[in-house]
Symmetry: C2
Subunit: 404 residues, 2 copies
Amino acid sequence: MAKLEGKALVAQGGGPTAVVNQSVVGVTLEARRFAQVSHVYGALHGVNGIINENMVDLTEATVANLEAMAVTPSSGLLSTRDKPDEAYCKQIFEVCKAHGIRFFFYCGGNDSADTCRIVNQQAAENNYDLRVIHVPKTIDNDLKVTDHCPGYGSAAKFVAQAFAGANLDNRAIPGVYIGVVMGRHAGFLTAAAALARKYPDDGPHLIYLPERAINKEKFLDDVTDALEQYGRCVIAVSEGIVDEKGEAIASQFTGGEKDSHGNVQLSGTGALGDLLAGWIKEQKLTKRVRADTLGYLQRSFLGCVSDVDQREARAVGEKAVYYAVRHGRDGSVAIKRTGDYAVSYFLTPLETVARHATEMPDAFINETGNGVTEAFLQYARPLAGAMPELERLDALAVEKIMPK
Amino acid sequence: MAKLEGKALVAQGGGPTAVVNQSVVGVTLEARRFAQVSHVYGALHGVNGIINENMVDLTEATVANLEAMAVTPSSGLLSTRDKPDEAYCKQIFEVCKAHGIRFFFYCGGNDSADTCRIVNQQAAENNYDLRVIHVPKTIDNDLKVTDHCPGYGSAAKFVAQAFAGANLDNRAIPGVYIGVVMGRHAGFLTAAAALARKYPDDGPHLIYLPERAINKEKFLDDVTDALEQYGRCVIAVSEGIVDEKGEAIASQFTGGEKDSHGNVQLSGTGALGDLLAGWIKEQKLTKRVRADTLGYLQRSFLGCVSDVDQREARAVGEKAVYYAVRHGRDGSVAIKRTGDYAVSYFLTPLETVARHATEMPDAFINETGNGVTEAFLQYARPLAGAMPELERLDALAVEKIMPK
């Protein structure tokens, strides 16, 4: 097989993560090492930047600049919410062909994998050699085949540190604290709220995931029980929790705004947290009820990155180049967990990852549907990496002497 | 003067901070060094733990335990929202007297300083020698006399890192982003959103503080201008922003719940952010509008501490002991800024800090009332300490070649 020669193109789609720039820089620096790759282009704002030829030449970006961008959260190449159809993908292909692009690397979730699949197919149908690699990226951790997704570990670390702090705060001034976490259909990120529990009575005491239906009665019963047991209650709730009919609890309260994918807006509003807090206040279960929506900080906060996640995000970018340039393959880079904890990488066909997402396995959710299992903690801990320490005061009580 | 001999008591009141435990540990470890201090007691849940004799003996807490607690956010001794009146303070005094407590250290804001003042006065009126020291602590930075308050720097760092990340996210997927920041009457913490701006077009592009009245028309005009100039807009808003009549904008939307101090609930609800987002959506200024309320993470997030703040919080605790035990004085520990950047400490009378809070000086707010000045950045930067790095990609545009 003759070596395929031409340009490489890299882009990012969907919601940013804390480590997606590592993947882009992994692709860029590795692709620059191959003589058969004449230029490495970066499309701005994802596929939108391809069809509008809004691209930059990464071949002369300094290593200093790229390495500094690699440790910066969010998408350095900027992103898009466009979800290409066949006609859109045709345009992508046409631009690739016109620019002599032979290697296309797209960082994103299952929608981005589908874009890769269609573009790859169209190139084949037009007898144009175009290697297409999907580079996995999502804080939701909902991609099929792979053990986990780059981007999840850092977001999980943020959520764990947020709830560890909220738990300390709630212990200092008791009441009910509700924290709403991102994750439309998969509860992995919400579940991560449990990762920084240290003492037996540490919160979150209740965790509600999109994988288990919830209703007002059960929710209030759970909160009542927790208040009785702990004198306070910290609750982690996924923004995507649904009722028995499968309808998002939040969807009643956002005025029905939908994004370009037809999804109801869940993030960027405090409505769900306020709704749940309202339920508790209505029943007067306790005086102090507070709800925070962790919001965009979960994926973009400057200065909260999992080392493991960072290394793996870099690795999937580098691996993508080897698969495409050295081995002439198409596919999605996936991670296999080996040992405790180590990983290896492999390439899976684009159609195995495209379109359909995955959810939390049953083994990760407790029987009462309001918490996580030890198996989940074992799964997620290495991904979030090292946590900052926390400790309670350990001192003897002073004897009471005042007359009553 | 004969040496005053007896026990010391330390407690924390009001909202926790990331570094208040440093102050408690500073008091505890320093007080333990003095032979005339027989025991160091800690009251649980602030003044509430004093009147209920809910206290622990810190004299035998290990240094390992205390140092680990010192770097843990929130109040290790737990806190309270109780705001003591004369009768309540009388009980505090009675418990101190019964237990032979001669040195009382209370970490908190201006309400806690007032408690110190009243207890100190009652002891004097009863001819009981009780040294009372207020140890400053607040994320709002609104104490009088002192240059700044321990607790503020770490919260400012969190807010700065949150907005730096939100700005990167907003740049990747443009629209309007609103982040609601704590601070009922003082805008210092909201203003800190500007600390991590690096590039000339970095957000926050608009900053609204409680010190300047705002109305819907001006707000929408500002947002329109920013969208025109930047194609996107990041907004930092204090939860305490008020209209021309001085009424909190948020107060219309929280069902009027009030805390034990008679204040309307501002934190722990997403209502203000959703209200402002609604104004923008109503006018269809842009398609994508998101609002986050940073919430309790600002004061409790595990793993975001300013080194400078941490050192100073420790120092005010240690100084408190020297003033009380070695010098037999009462007062509030204050910080003086010397050089660029260095500090010294001094003791100010309790009545100069008690009850009344301070606000942002005019020199820190821009003329149009929607941003901060260079003077503010100079003031706040050293307090928040070192920020994580961030960098944009620097690469040349690729020439467009597609036929139009």
